[in-house]
Assembly symmetry: C3
Homo-oligomer: 496 residues x 3
């Protein structure tokens, strides 16, 4: 009898513990699959040398489940998109060597490390082994081309240099030198990504003594358009940080908020002051951040960035509302981000191919004419807006949603007008010799012009799209659109 009671006690207790641990994610209650022998060797050393990442990984789904187990989930609940996993990877958890040992021949950063050949950088092409749909979608997106779009577009390149070039006073003149690679890496390229190259091998002194490692240039970096030593584009760790690779993190707006920040892209700040942000900030602790699919109302009570832009969203009885996409522009019809005015989304991720009627690599001319052949057409715009509206309609009625987007259209037109007025003033300054058009980014009236379309018009449009009253009004909104235009106007008057 006593044994029975002890047994009962233990059962109750351990059952409660297990249900608690597993509450957030619905995977099969089973013994964890084994850790591969290779990975065990990695861990043996690295638990001493970089203990933080071992512990981080131990909390990840990768450390608890094998691809084989993942494939037993119903398709709608799956986090992997390949049906064919290499035999060598199938039945162990996804550990150090399973990722860092992949596709060695493609990797210029592959090297011999205590008896193993490993890659420093795990690239999207490696992740593709289990997640091919996500990688293919991502690779075609603007994000994947983020650094090449900066480097290969002469105007954007000039803009970047104008801002981050070192300035010195020489002979009473203000001169601008080239930007350093270091500064580019931590300004524009911190978000856009660097081109990581391998210069050879080098010896470094580590806690393990002298070791030979690849000599990487433009590293470390986790920008979204990073070009990796295997030629692939992007860094999955931009949004799924190492070594936890969590869906939860990617779904939280703090992740997008690494880059999408005011003054140029105030997506996160606008979100925070929106009704959706209010609900997220107040109730997020009760939400199910790891469920796949992500069920509207049940798992979350207000959308985050991921909800509208990429997640697989379903009803509580698992009817799909929208499919998952890792092309973050796929549900967007208009590009609110003015260059220099808003315009239909580009057809392809490599936007540096765009040329407008003036021959400039901007998607719109100074006069406001779109470079239509490079931009999606009306039909595609309608189709994408319809997709987005499905998400809104998860909670809002049809009329509510329609009226919201009518308002957005009006705001797009008005803010474009406010930018056109700024361009007119700049052109006047150029025409009258008050400023020099050869570089449109390096004089005070040009700085004001940049602020008009790059900071203030964007702020108002984002605020309109998400319902952020402060960013529409006083904080980088209409207040600035108006007072900035007055300043530009005065510059064109005073100097005459």
């Amino acid at each position: 009898m006593k044994q029975l009671l002890v047994y009962l006690f233990c059962s109750v207790f351990s059952f409660l513990c297990i249900t608690n641990i597993l509450a957030e994610e619905k995977w099969e209650v089973a013994a964890s699959p084994p850790i591969s022998e290779n990975t065990q060797v990695c861990i043996l050393c690295h638990r001493n040398y970089t203990p933080g990442i071992i512990e981080d990984w131990l909390k990840s789904r990768h450390s608890k489940i094998s691809p084989e187990m993942a494939l037993k989930m119903p398709p709608i609940e799956r986090r992997i998109s390949s049906e064919i996993i290499p035999d060598t990877l199938k039945s162990t958890v996804v550990g150090c060597y399973e990722c860092h040992g992949l596709n060695a021949s493609n990797h210029k950063d592959n090297f011999e490390h205590f008896g193993f050949r490993i890659n420093v950088i795990v690239s999207p092409n490696d992740c593709k082994t289990c997640h091919p749909v996500e990688v293919d979608q991502y690779s075609a997106s603007k994000k994947a081309h983020a650094v090449e779009n900066l480097q290969q577009n002469p105007l954007y390149h000039t803009f970047g240099e104008a801002i981050t070039g070192i300035k010195e006073i020489k002979d009473g003149k203000l001169i601008s030198l080239n930007s350093s690679e270091h500064t580019k890496a931590e300004t524009c390229y911190a978000c856009h990504g660097t081109v990581v190259t391998v210069k050879g091998m080098k010896k470094i002194f580590s806690k393990m003594g002298d070791i030979d490692v690849p000599d990487l240039a433009n590293w470390p970096n986790q920008g979204v358009g990073r070009i990796n030593p295997d030629g692939s584009k992007g860094a999955c760790t931009s949004c799924h940080p190492r070594h936890n690779f969590s869906i939860e993190v990617a779904r939280k707006p703090y992740t997008c908020a690494q880059c999408h920040l005011e003054p140029d892209v105030p997506a996160f700040e606008v979100y925070k002051e929106s009704k959706h942000g209010n609900i997220f900030l107040s109730k997020q602790h009760e939400w199910n951040w790891n469920n796949v699919p992500w069920r509207v109302g049940k798992d979350f009570q207000a959308p985050t960035c991921a909800t509208c832009h990429n997640s697989l969203i379903a009803t509580s009885d698992d009817k799909v509302i929208v499919s998952r996409t890792h092309d973050f522009g796929a549900r967007l019809w208009v590009r609110l981000f003015g260059l220099i005015y808003s315009h239909p989304q580009p057809k392809v991720g490599a936007t540096h191919i765009i040329k407008n009627k003036d021959g400039l690599p901007f998607p719109v001319t100074y006069d406001g004419e779109s470079a239509s052949e490079y931009l999606i057409d009306k039909n595609e715009q309608i189709q994408r807006q319809t997709e987005m509206k499905k998400i809104c309609q998860g909670c809002h009625n049809t009329d509510w949603v329609n009226l919201h987007f009518v308002k957005l259209d009006s705001t797009i037109a008005e803010t474009d007008t406010m930018c056109l007025s700024a361009t007119r003033l700049l052109q006047k300054a150029w025409n009258e010799g008050l400023a020099d058009p050869s570089n449109p980014f390096d004089e005070t009236i040009e700085h004001l012009w940049i602020k008009q379309w790059f900071f203030y018009a964007n702020s108002v449009r984002y605020a309109s799209a998400m319902g952020g009253p402060d960013f529409a009004t006083f904080k980088n909104g209409w207040w600035e659109l108006t007072t900035n235009l007055h300043k530009m106007f005065e510059l064109t008057q005073i100097k005459k």
Copy 2:
């Protein structure tokens, strides 16, 4: 014996689960009351058409308790303030039809919808059925009059137009057109509220096919002073968002932070950098956000906006410290928000009736004289400050609290002086023809003047009231008050 053990196991387990679920809120452990037949029909369709709001409501208190049950709570713990609930609503949960079906004859937005007559907008007058005290308090407040105070005060109207009017360059001149209704709706009126009117009926194409719905103007909107199709003022959903209607959300500062943001009203940013904000941000996960009354120290360890401005606050043994109010100015004696200087709180919510000695609809003249007859007197000020101090004294000793408010008084006087200096410079510019006084809001020196009182003086005063060092100093504080005044001074010198 075995059965007994199984029974015991189940009891332990389910008891633990239930106590866990009910831990946050103390309502009677009982079966949920029924959902009305009307609401069941709503849910039948809307769980398919707008599943998010059904799930959201299912998590609400409204979905789990009937007014009858709510009335059984001890008065101090009640969330409803009416003792007389209509018989038809008493014994079911508060569902779709219970709210959207109320007071049909008052609602110009009432329409026939699949056999039911419902209102699009549930208004404060509808919520009043169970929450009359809250609605009456709110309806008298400045918040409830927020949009009419903007529209009916000619100066505020001019200010709004100056900012949000579209500007064009015509014949070398900068001209300002009228603001569009869309832009007003998402700038000033996003917080202040719109006047929602019904233009008739219209046919829309929805997921259910073509349906007839009311054709609403200035909708959607959730501003605090919204004027509803039934004539009532306000939107309870400004702070208790649909369809969860949570006390928790309203008590969290993220809710107030939809509107009370820098640069003009930096309440939330100042709070975040204050000691109170520090404690809130660090410990909020352990607090009881749903308890009524809200017990100082026990349920929360530092005040949020709601604590000081409206919640029912009690000791841990339920002695009332301050009563609940939904007039958010009721505990305020001074209006830190300068117009154009700080001043005693207005007597009534409809501030557009105020006229100062200069005949302008500002509560203070340019020279700093208050329009006393429209503002509360010294006695009322003392009474309100005493009420506020009771909350401070929940944690701080009398001397600490007194000294805090002495400091605030000093700061109010100093920042008013810094604004008066700005006005003196503006008057000089007006007198000397450097600027045109006919519209005081549309020239560069006037923009600087606005920043002085509307952005910087407010920031310092809020920072003084709540203890935010950065907003008092470099971030929109004394640094800006000073450097901005220098800029104004130079404008009055250069142009002479």
Copy 3:
């Protein structure tokens, strides 16, 4: 049998409850030690008069454990650093009287209060009774000298007055009066601390009737360099707020974010947009905030301010990575905070003793030469950087960490150049009589110069150190460094 079952039920239940309560902190499961008789009397009244702080304290570790129990912990897990605790304090919990009754003879704020002699302010010297190592480290730090460094450095004093002095327009001139004590207390001294003095006794009317209390000047205040009525420096409550005195709060970045904010010290904003901030904001709810030592990867998955700057960090098997320090500069080799350029950390906390080659109390001359004799040397710099790198290497490999700091060094040099260019322009203005060098902080071109080194260069350096792309680029970063320099340049041209 039945009794056995009941007993079993109770055991299971209470064990689960206790483990739950104790889950976060590993102290011995034992009955709480007694509350001292003195403290019981305090509580008897104050649970009515200031109930919030009693409840707050009841949630603290101080209310649940005696110093005697604390000493039974293994040394690495201890939160107290004294081995010798006075007998009178050993065996009771740390209550009101145990702290407010200490070292009465040192305290000018000691007074008779209902039969007890107590101090208003519990000072670091009082906390030292149990926490001597922490207090000694802190007392030598820059933080502890924060207010005297402002007051005794004539340049900083002039800077403060220039900003916070009240400005009036007199006879067409802009004149600056002295800053008031109130304004200083809530601007500079809110973070830096006030000098709290005792002017005598005074009678105040409290809820207990008229009582006599010390008449304190410059109170309330919780700045880091506060000088207390017992002569000690600092306020432990800056980071461990009353009366919870929590490690959790101090470890969260919200605590540092009371002061370390943009525009001058944007540490928190940069952190939030960094990868570390992203992970913290997304996963903090799962971390163990109270464990000592703090185990990398296991207790936290990304560093907070405390991780890098002061906590005791260990591996999951309790190998120490870095020791705890309460001198928050102890792991820093370079002072990113430019005055007016970056420079090696000062040797001592009392930086007002520094004089550079120009005879000015800045650690660097206008031309960029460091006042080396007051600053740590290369060896000390290397040693401190090595210490910091150990923390980085908890997760990152050696090469990653080295490259990160190479980039930081480059940014320090570039931003110093951008500041030197600004100084050159200011010197030109001074030389040509366009500005008056007698006070370098009170003219428009001087304000721009201040922004260059105090706001923008600092922002870029912090962004480089922590990986914050927005603050390196558009938000107070290179964009502002560049456009601000253009404005300064134009001021030196126009006026000629």
